[in-house]
């Protein structure tokens, strides 16, 4: 056991203690396990949402992309702020409707708005599929942290297993309140670590930021701007746009919108949270400085750059503290994702298929599914090869397919029909699945078009398919008896699920 691992284990024990303490003396019912009651205030929701949004992806993936790709990594800084601007108009109506109808999950929202149980099941399946690469990303990040902090004594494979078991035990031992307190600890630690690294490394290696960027621009011309082909401005704009639309479509971000005390929380967040994004700058600085400290990492090894640079620059104790912060950035969202996926499968898929199931049975199933979902993610983790950022972009392509149907459901009477919403989501998701498996790009699909088009994020194709199918089917089914639009208020009993 290295001293770095000792520190990491210590922080893990604290995280468990916080999780257990939060739960003590409480009756665990499903709504509390996943939504935590609706009593969180502004500060707490702020930390909870920040906790979910700052993940291994930004910490290791963000620095890894700055190190490996340069300017394209800046997209990570852009999309968060724009997503908060969108949330200002998007989340208050979602929150009002969810509260009025006692909704717990994201699928409940679609079921209630469109008065369609099958649509809820489809949304559930799509969101679980999207969560898998997101969970793989967290496990991969945890594996990197544990194996790097062991200085080669723990192999990456063993590290992934240890990490996965840890996340599973953590989820079962705590609930959302446990995650929220751990998120507080995580936010403090990650902020301290990222600021320290992002200031110390550039100053120590180059003497300052200007000197660092000038030196990189000299050594690698073009590294600090978007290339004219490939990850060009056209890629950047389309990727940010799609990611903004998908930002609140994740079941756990959508669900965390339910936990707010009142709707003004979202409006205040839209003003404050963009500023929080600037922490990402220091992650980029770390990645760029790592170019000088540990040059030569290639492929998905770029995700190791932050930890490798830390090991080269600091003593094992400091590396332990950095690793511990990293552990929390994977544990908090990892546990949230795992909990979401299991709850969705139990409540929105199983319970719909077996309407007679008791709440206790569903809660037990949700917990039983936690290790199974983790096992699926571990399997994908070992197939490997993709960088952390690529994994997240894949998940985003799936989850963004829910956006058109969601937005069109917000007016009191949904604009799309339930058949249109169903067909659009299905067509968009199948397109993403096909494009992912076939590894198609815009360039392979439309080789004769100019690079402004061929550089577009491939998710645009799926989005266009989604919207066209949604519109066509909605027009075809509108007015006919079967196409009666779902109207939330009249159909409230279908949306309340197990609480009725």
């Amino acid at each position: 056991m290295t001293s770095a691992l000792v520190i990491i284990a210590l922080v893990l024990v604290i995280a468990f203690w916080l999780g257990m303490r939060a739960r003590r003396g409480r009756e665990m019912v499903l709504e509390q396990w996943s939504v935590g009651g609706r009593g969180f205030g502004t500060l707490f929701v702020f930390l909870l949402m920040a906790g979910e949004i700052y993940t291994t992806f930004t910490f290791l993936g963000g620095s890894g992309w700055a190190y490996g790709k340069g300017a394209p990594a800046f997209y990570i800084l852009g999309y968060g702020a724009l997503a908060y601007a969108l949330s200002y108009s998007l989340l208050p109506p979602v929150w009002r409707y969810a509260k009025a109808h006692g909704l717990v999950s994201q699928a409940d929202f679609f079921v209630s708005k469109y008065a369609s149980e099958p649509l809820g099941i489809l949304v559930s399946v799509v969101s679980v599929v999207a969560l898998v690469p997101y969970l793989v990303l967290q496990l991969k990040g945890l594996g990197i942290i544990v194996s790097e902090a062991s200085y080669g004594r723990v192999s990456p494979a063993v590290a992934v297993w240890v990490s996965s078991v840890t996340v599973v035990v953590y989820v079962i031992a705590s609930g959302v309140r446990g995650s929220a307190w751990t998120a507080v600890l995580k936010d403090v630690m990650i902020l301290a670590v990222v600021l320290a690294l992002g200031i110390y490394l550039p100053v120590h290696e180059f003497g300052g930021y200007r000197a660092m960027f000038e030196s990189i621009a000299r050594a690698r011309p073009g590294f600090l701007v978007l290339p004219s082909k490939g990850m060009s401005p056209s890629w950047f704009i389309s990727t940010v746009a799609l990611t903004v639309l998908g930002f609140y479509m994740w079941p756990h971000t959508f669900g965390s919108a339910y936990t707010a005390k009142d709707e003004n929380v979202f409006r205040k967040n839209a003003v404050i949270m963009p500023l929080y994004q600037l922490v990402l700058l220091f992650v980029f600085f770390t990645g760029f400085a790592a170019l000088a400290v540990v040059p030569g990492l290639r492929g998905s090894d770029v995700d190791l750059s932050l930890l490798r640079a830390s090991k080269a620059a600091f003593s094992p104790w400091v590396v332990g503290a950095i690793g511990a912060a990293g552990l929390l950035t994977a544990l908090v969202p990892g546990s949230m994702i795992l909990m979401s996926a299991s709850t969705i499968l139990a409540k929105n898929v199983y319970a719909k298929a077996r309407p007679g199931a008791s709440e206790r049975e569903i809660t037990r199933l949700a917990k039983g599914l936690v290790p199974l979902v983790a096992l699926v993610a571990v399997t994908f983790t070992f197939r490997g090869g993709d960088t952390l950022v690529m994994l997240l972009l894949m998940g985003y392509n799936f989850v963004t397919q829910l956006f058109p149907a969601l937005v069109l459901s917000l007016p009191r009477r949904p604009i799309a029909t339930r058949q249109g919403a169903f067909a659009g989501i299905l067509a968009g998701t199948l397109t993403v699945a096909y494009l992912t498996v076939s590894k198609a790009t815009m360039a392979t699909l439309f080789p004769s078009l100019p690079s402004v088009v061929t550089d577009l994020n491939i998710g645009i194709v799926a989005m266009v398919v989604n919207v066209v199918v949604l519109a066509a089917v909605s027009v075809a089914t509108r007015g006919s008896g079967i196409g009666k639009r779902g109207s939330g208020i009249e159909n409230r009993e279908t949306g309340t699920g197990i609480h009725t």
Binding site: G78, G208, K268, I272
Partner: protein, 73 residues
């Protein structure tokens, strides 16, 4: 929807619309290559714009309350 709510679209249009023109290293501003500075600037402006929208929302909510409480109407 209130018309000033469209202000919320300004950050997206500004940040993304400007990327093709801001895609350069020089001039380095505040130590940052220009493209990175451009994005940082719009992240800050997002916060400012949303603060303005929020303030306008508060004001229109207050004036609605006053009208509702005014017995002469």
């Amino acid at each position: 929807m209130k018309r000033y709510r469209w202000l919320a679209a300004v950050p997206a249009i500004g940040m993304l619309g400007g990327v093709p023109f801001a895609n350069r290293v020089e001039p380095i501003v505040l130590g940052l290559p220009f493209l990175l500075f451009w994005i940082v600037l719009w992240v800050l402006l997002t916060s400012v714009v949303m603060g303005v929208v929020y303030a306008l929302d508060r004001r229109s909510a207050r004036s609605l309350d006053e009208r509702a409480g005014d017995p002469s109407r």
